[in-house]
Symmetry: C2
C-alpha cells in the first residue's frame, strides 16, 4: 500500500482544536479528518496509520480510532481487517450516487414542507432567496455559498424527519464541494437560482407533487453540470476532483 504523503495535511489542527474547547478529542479529529478527506487534503488511496495520526494530532490512539470508525461508517475511509484504513477515493460513480440520494431525499423534504407549510419557514426561504440573488449580482461567491446552504437547510429541517435531515446535511457537505465545479459551468449559477425560485413557488402553493419534482430536478441539474465539468476536466489533463 502506497505510503502517500500526509505530512502537511494537519498543520492547523491545533488551532482548530483550540477554537473548540469542550468538544471531545474524538469529535475534533473526526470533523477535522472528514473535512480533510472531502476537500482532498488527504491523498485518496493513502494508508493511514493510527499512531502516526495520533502523533500529528498530538493525541493518543484511542480518540483517533474512534474518529476513524466514524469516518468508516460514513464510507470516507475503508477498513481492512488488521491492516488499517485507507482513504477512499471519491469516484464519479460516488458523486453520481450522492447526487441521486440527495435528489430523492430532498424531494421528500420539499414535498413535506410544501404539504405542511409554516409561515416562518416560508418567509425564511424567501428572504434567503433574495439575499442569494443579491450575492450573485455582487459576485460574492462566499456569501452565495453560505446562503445556498442555509436555504437548503431550511428545507431539510422542515420535513421534520431527523433521519432525513441528518443524512441530507451530511450529503450536503459533498455537494458543497461539488459546487466549486458546477459553478464553473457557464450560466449554471443563474439557472440554479431560478430552480430555487421555482421550487419556492411550488412550496408556496403547497403543491407537494410539484415541490418534489422541482427539488429533484434542481439536484439532477446540479448532477448534470457536475458530470459535464468532470468530463471536461478529464479531457483537459489528468485533473482529479
Amino acid at each position: 500500500m502506497a505510503n502517500n504523503d500526509v505530512n502537511n495535511a494537519f498543520n492547523d489542527f491545533a488551532a482548530f482544536a483550540a477554537s473548540n474547547e469542550f468538544v471531545p478529542m474524538r469529535e475534533l479529529i473526526y470533523q477535522y479528518m472528514r473535512d480533510a478527506i472531502i476537500k482532498r487534503k488527504l491523498p485518496a488511496g493513502g494508508h493511514l496509520v493510527e499512531e502516526d495520526l495520533a502523533g500529528k494530532l498530538k493525541a493518543s490512539r484511542t480518540p483517533v480510532r474512534e474518529a476513524l470508525r466514524k469516518l468508516e461508517s460514513e464510507g470516507l475511509v475503508k477498513h481492512h481487517r488488521r491492516r488499517g484504513v485507507e482513504v477512499r477515493q471519491l469516484t464519479m460513480k460516488d458523486a453520481a450516487d450522492i447526487y441521486d440520494m440527495c435528489a430523492v431525499l430532498e424531494g421528500y423534504a420539499a414535498r413535506l414542507m410544501a404539504e405542511n407549510v409554516n409561515r416562518d419557514d416560508l418567509e425564511a426561504l424567501q428572504n434567503i432567496l433574495y439575499e442569494m440573488k443579491d450575492s450573485i449580482d455582487k459576485k460574492n461567491s462566499k456569501l452565495e455559498m453560505d446562503l445556498h446552504q442555509k436555504w437548503h437547510f431550511v428545507i431539510y429541517a422542515a420535513c421534520r424527519n431527523k433521519r432525513a435531515e441528518t443524512l441530507l446535511k451530511n450529503y450536503n457537505d459533498y455537494l458543497q464541494l461539488f459546487r466549486d465545479y458546477t459553478l464553473q459551468v457557464p450560466g449554471r449559477i443563474w439557472n440554479s437560482w431560478e430552480e430555487h425560485e421555482r421550487l419556492f413557488r411550488a412550496i408556496e402553493l403547497q403543491d407537494g407533487n410539484l415541490a418534489e419534482e422541482r427539488a429533484r430536478n434542481h439536484v439532477a441539474m446540479g448532477k448534470e453540470a457536475f458530470l459535464i465539468r468532470w468530463s471536461q476536466m478529464l479531457n483537459d489533463d489528468n485533473y482529479q476532483v
Copy 2:
C-alpha cells in the same frame, strides 16, 4: 437516570461470539447490542455503563466503546457528554419516519431497477414472489419473513447505489420487526403480497414512474397498518412496541 435492569439481555453473547470467530469483538458487540435494542431486550431509556457491559460481555471497555459509538451514529443510543449512553426509545414518530425513509428510498431503488432491468434479477424477483405466495398459503410465517426480506434485498441491490442499498438494509431491520405487528392486521399479509405483485409487474414493464409509485405505496400501506396496530395496542393496555 433510571438504572433499568439489563441483566439477562446478554445471556447468549458467548455463544454468538463463538459462532463468529475472526469477527472483531467491537463488531460482535455492535451487532449483538443492535439486535438487543431493536428487539427490545434492552429497556428503552436505560443507562448503559461501559464497564458493566464489558464485564457482562467478557471484553474490555475499548471494543465496547467502539460498538457504542457505532450504535450512536445509527441513532439507537444517545450519548450524553461525560454521562454515558442511554438506550433510545423508538417512538411512534420514529417508526413513521423510518417508514417514510424506506418509502422514498425504496421507490428510488424500484425506479432504477425498472429502468435498467436485468433478466436475472427479474427472474429472482418472480421466483421469490411465488415462493412467498406458497409460504403464505402454508402459513409458514418464518419462511415468508425470510423470503420477504430476500425479495426486497433484490430490489435494494438492483439500484446499484451502495449508499442507498446499505441504508435500506439498515432500515429494513426495523421494518422486519414492525412486520410482527402489521401482519396482525387482518388481511394485511395478502394485501402486502398483492402490492409486491403489482410492483413486480411495474418493474417487468420497465415503467420507472409506476415502479416508484407502487414501491412507495407498498411501504405506505405497511406504515398505515403499523399505525393502526399501534393505536390498537395503546387502547388495549399500556403495551409498548
